[in-house]
Assembly symmetry: C2
Homo-oligomer: 306 residues x 2
Amino acid sequence: MTPGRSMILPPPLHAGARVALVSPAGPLGGPAEVALAEANARSLGWEPVVGRFALARTGYFAGTDDERITDLREALADPSIDGIWCLRGGYGAMRLLPMLDGDSLRQRPRVLLGYSDITALHAAWQTAGVVSYHGPTARAELSPFSRDSLIKAITTGHEPAGDAPDATCIVPGRVEGRLAGGNLALVASLAGTPWAVSFRDGIAVLEDVHEATYRVDRMLVQLRLAGAFDGCRGIVFGHCTDCPDTSEDGRRTLRDLLSELGHALNVPTLMGVPVGHIPDQWTLPLGAMATLDAGAHTLQVHRPTL
Amino acid sequence: MTPGRSMILPPPLHAGARVALVSPAGPLGGPAEVALAEANARSLGWEPVVGRFALARTGYFAGTDDERITDLREALADPSIDGIWCLRGGYGAMRLLPMLDGDSLRQRPRVLLGYSDITALHAAWQTAGVVSYHGPTARAELSPFSRDSLIKAITTGHEPAGDAPDATCIVPGRVEGRLAGGNLALVASLAGTPWAVSFRDGIAVLEDVHEATYRVDRMLVQLRLAGAFDGCRGIVFGHCTDCPDTSEDGRRTLRDLLSELGHALNVPTLMGVPVGHIPDQWTLPLGAMATLDAGAHTLQVHRPTL
């Protein structure tokens, strides 16, 4: 977000909302995943509109850059489309950033839902000053927990987060700030670019998958050296799934890294909330204000007071 | 390097030069590696001075940040030390960057030798406007090829590179520029920081190890989006060692990535030169001018005309 710019909340997705299902990053496994995504959308009362290239495959991408941006652009240009639900992450969304029109994102704000590699698109929405939703991808089997949070976040506007009883308090304290972040690898990969994420006046929400501890260390150090954490008010780390603490990494863990970061910044820090590559996920509105109480293991989203 | 600032060439290391052996990143396996490094230095006519914490170990670091920066600082503060040869890479050098005094690097320019994670220190030398040497770490078994190039680069001042008959021309053409870069993962990890690498008016020298193709893709895209390649005149990629082109990455290879980059920038591009995690390595003076002729498979360093 541009500092000082007010954030726009896209209209909620009520029954009958038309939701584009697109693949801006990695390829799907096959039509069954699209069918599951359509069923997910219908179960939420939405009408799914599958992108032309949703099932395309070019190497590790869901089609060429041109094909992937075409589906996104067509969805954004269609006035009947109310939201965009990304089918999966993987890798490839950040390649599309120079081809997205940030002004149009703000002129006609729309719900964006997804996580992991979709963090690149969240950065585009945030840069345009539009709230976007960090939550399950469309092809996921939605657990009751994930479904409940998603409905609250996007449909009813109720508080989608709340208690995280299984979380670990790293640095206690209570703070308010704007939610910002997403997948750590993507946030680090956006450093130095026009879509760089800033945690100033914010609560950093981070997660990752398949990263050795030294890589997580390196990404956090990059973001510190790049100033991304300057003015950060709090840190919420979800899960680092399949992030081995083995071999020569053995004596340094994610908890050590977050303790180092949280104490260096001297901000409330909570680890292990329902965010990441896990079955039960919160859907969090990035760009919205929230209150973190690390000692109480709670993250409360202030939806009406954007 | 600050644009327009002249680069300083450190004095060459002649017989009797005192060379500090330090571990600014990952830990060594044991004293035998220090012994090999000392033998390497003596075989080049240098007197090795082993850092106090060269054998320290803290998790995946060669000691704490304080211990690692202490060895570097003591070497830089000692007027009898003529050069710094890093014992190994790994991870951890970039954590020391805010603790290094760039002004002192320029006031008393000294040889720096190493690669891989040592790219972070190269970035400090380059930012200070001092040529630094991208080549073997001190604990390596030096092949005759690597030894020859190292001696030419650092001791005699002769042309240390030249022909790369096994390289692959990706985009033909001949161009002059300053050598810049190092390990791709580190160059990407410095994006957005005060030590960010710029290839403006330069020839990008890159290599990597243990990175899936999609990660190399992401790093190159980050650097493009961050403007690092703006004004770049040529690209020289060494080797990406143990970078699997397998599973879902299968249809997109390093060559595809370099072809995409070289053609997008429209600059001479050469792949497979003796740079990287391989036995036979060039020692290249980063910050020095060179001529790349991709079609002829040659990289010629202009040593006297800095």
